[in-house]
């Protein structure tokens, strides 16, 4: 582990914050454009912060040509932009764009930036690909992958996952616990698309998609948009909610040979192995200080591999870590308390950042009763709602981390603290 210097004033540590978050309902069939979805999510984030359009002057988004660009949404919402940037990319872009938003503000290009992701991930462009999308011409570098029916995310990542089982004896039942635990969290999340709690048997008996991935090892594809607002700490306290302060960011950190990362092993090691040397240095904290994680769960395996390579457990012990109960609400370090991509819905990591912002405020939406101001009176009882539980707020939370995944060889990270 890199030496962590907590005294030095470096890397813009603790100088920026997220002041507002918002999303649309997670559906499979939104019945509206990504422009309408994006507008809705940004407006929700603006209302959350209590910020008027006149005080936002930056906008960033990412997509795989499946979204609507910033100028349209800014126009719709009456936001005059001093800076915008719409980039290519999926998972791991959320954290990276937050870092770039900080850079744009620090350079004096703008003052307050909205980052959004809008996608009809079920009804328009499915991540996994459909018959039509799978039939596009194959040329160039794709001749070494798509031509082999090696195409979707699950197919592409499968040699990494399989090799981890071979190298370390990781079992399907251990990995299935990621889905089991995230489904428990989702059952207490009114927003979650899948609220049903599942068992290890449910996961390992579900339809095989691509060994080692069963259907329930894979995330849900949804239509939705998500947005968050970044500004400097100087301004962050002028708004409605307690800001989530940004301690550190790492963006799109890569393994060697990212053109085809399998050339450089161990192939069961993922980008987190490299990210940890940047993110903990930047944030001035280490994995032992992190109380709640948002480890990207495009698949059950992706949460496990990342938690392991960031150093939350020894290399190779990810199977034990995810099946030990540590990640459960009420456990030592809960992961994806919203149910994550496996259960809540899918927007490339944005929803797990939004979740951690709300966790740090002490204001996740769950089934706990509300006071006269609409604030939840949390019971910290994580049993299902029908058994008298329904809470998913982590008590006494100070520091969270997001572990963003693009693919085994590329990832990003964000560490935040309570404002």
């Amino acid at each position: 582990m890199t030496d962590i210097d907590t005294t030095a004033d470096k890397y813009l540590r603790d100088k920026y914050a997220i002041i507002g978050v918002g999303e649309t309902t997670y559906t499979r069939g939104s019945g509206m454009t990504t422009r309408a979805l994006g507008t809705w999510a940004i407006k929700n984030a603006m209302d959350d912060a209590g910020i008027p359009a006149s005080e936002i002057d930056g906008m960033m988004s990412y997509s795989g040509n499946d979204s609507t660009a910033s100028p349209m949404l800014a126009g719709d919402l009456g936001i005059r932009l001093n800076f915008y940037m719409d980039v290519q990319g999926g998972g791991s872009s959320s954290e990276a764009l937050i870092g770039l938003a900080i850079g744009a503000i620090e350079a004096g290009m703008c003052e307050t930036v909205v980052v959004f992701r809008s996608m009809n991930g079920f009804s328009q462009v499915r991540i996994g690909g459909t018959g039509a999308r799978a039939s596009v011409p194959v040329g160039g570098d794709a001749l070494h992958a798509a031509a082999y029916g090696w195409f979707s995310a699950g197919q592409s990542f499968s040699p990494t996952f399989m090799r981890h089982m071979y190298d370390y004896g990781t079992t399907p039942e251990q990995v299935a616990m990621v889905k089991v635990i995230h489904s428990e969290h989702a059952s207490n999340n009114p927003k979650a698309y899948y609220k049903q709690r599942v068992t290890v048997e449910d996961v390992v008996n579900s339809r095989m998609i691509c060994k080692p991935l069963h259907l329930l090892d894979c995330c849900v594809e949804t239509d939705n948009a998500t947005a968050l607002i970044v500004t400097s700490v100087d301004k962050a306290y002028d708004y409605r909610n307690t800001p989530a302060r940004i301690l550190g960011v790492a963006g799109r950190v890569c393994k060697p040979r990212i053109d085809m990362h399998f050339q450089h092993g161990p192939i069961s090691t993922v980008a987190g192995h490299y990210i940890k040397d940047i993110i903990y240095r930047n944030a001035g904290v280490g994995p032992e200080d992190i109380q709640c994680t948002g480890a990207y769960d495009a698949f059950t395996f992706t949460s496990m591999l990342q938690l392991e390579d960031y150093g939350f457990c020894e290399k190779g012990e990810g199977g034990d870590y995810v099946s030990s109960g540590i990640m459960r609400l009420g456990g030592e370090r809960p992961n994806n308390t919203s149910g994550g991509h496996l259960c809540e819905g899918y927007t490339h990591g944005m929803n797990m950042i939004i979740e951690n912002v709300r966790q740090l405020r002490g204001e996740v939406d769950c089934y706990c009763p509300q006071d006269d101001n609409g604030k939840r009176i949390h019971s910290y009882n994580y049993a299902p709602p029908e058994e008298g539980g329904g809470c998913r707020q982590v008590p006494d939370l100070e520091i969270t981390q997001n572990l963003g995944w693009a693919m085994p060889g590329t990832g990003s990270s964000l560490i935040m603290r309570k404002g």
């Binding site: 194959v138 031509a147 029916g149 040699p159 060994k211 399998f262 050339q263 092993g265």
Partner: protein
């Protein structure tokens, strides 16, 4: 421009894609070649085809014949195919075969790991009986599927001449008999 229909896909190598043109032309001659860096201090082979040397950034290279035999390093086994023509071939295997050539060079974690599907000795997609026999550790040799003039795809089949592991490592759960 080499172009052909293959399993419902149109495969194309553009005329200006010099690296892929040469790679697939050698494959079409059923003679596996890779780029070797010309720098005598480096002298390393690389896969997949690229425009410079990943170890020394040198842009100059020669195409050299490579013995296309190796060991399965990892795999995926697709039961729910996405691309339409692959559905009738499922379950099919995506293999990463580590070539004997240059294994463990220039560092212990590096090797030439060449992708392909599991096929029989004639180049047809493997049926369940063959899929069952292959896992991490299996010894493989390359065979080619012809797509068009100047374009064949490398695939992998069990190497009949090699000593096979008694039980190659396979994912512990069997599905539909494989």
């Amino acid at each position: 421009m080499p172009q052909g229909e293959y399993l419902g896909m149109t495969l194309t190598v553009l005329d200006l894609d010099n690296e892929n043109l040469a790679y697939f032309q050698h494959c079409a001659e059923h003679d596996f070649h890779l780029q070797r860096c010309v720098d005598p201090e480096c002298d390393l082979l690389r896969y997949p085809p690229g425009t410079a040397c990943p170890w020394c950034s040198g842009r100059e290279f020669n195409w050299v014949p490579v013995d296309a035999r190796g060991t399965v390093h990892s795999y995926g086994e697709v039961h729910h195919a996405i691309q339409p023509a692959f559905r009738e071939r499922a379950p099919y295997m995506i293999l990463l075969v580590e070539l004997d050539t240059q294994a463990g060079e220039p560092t212990e974690h590096e090797a030439l790991r060449v992708a392909g599907n599991l096929v029989d000795a004639d180049g047809n997609f493997a049926g369940p009986d063959l899929v069952k026999q292959v896992g991490i550790g299996s010894r493989m040799r390359m065979v080619f599927a012809d797509v068009a003039e100047g374009l064949s795809l490398p695939h992998w089949t069990l190497d009949e001449e090699a000593e096979q592991p008694e039980a190659p490592w396979r994912y512990p759960q069997e599905v539909n008999g494989v």
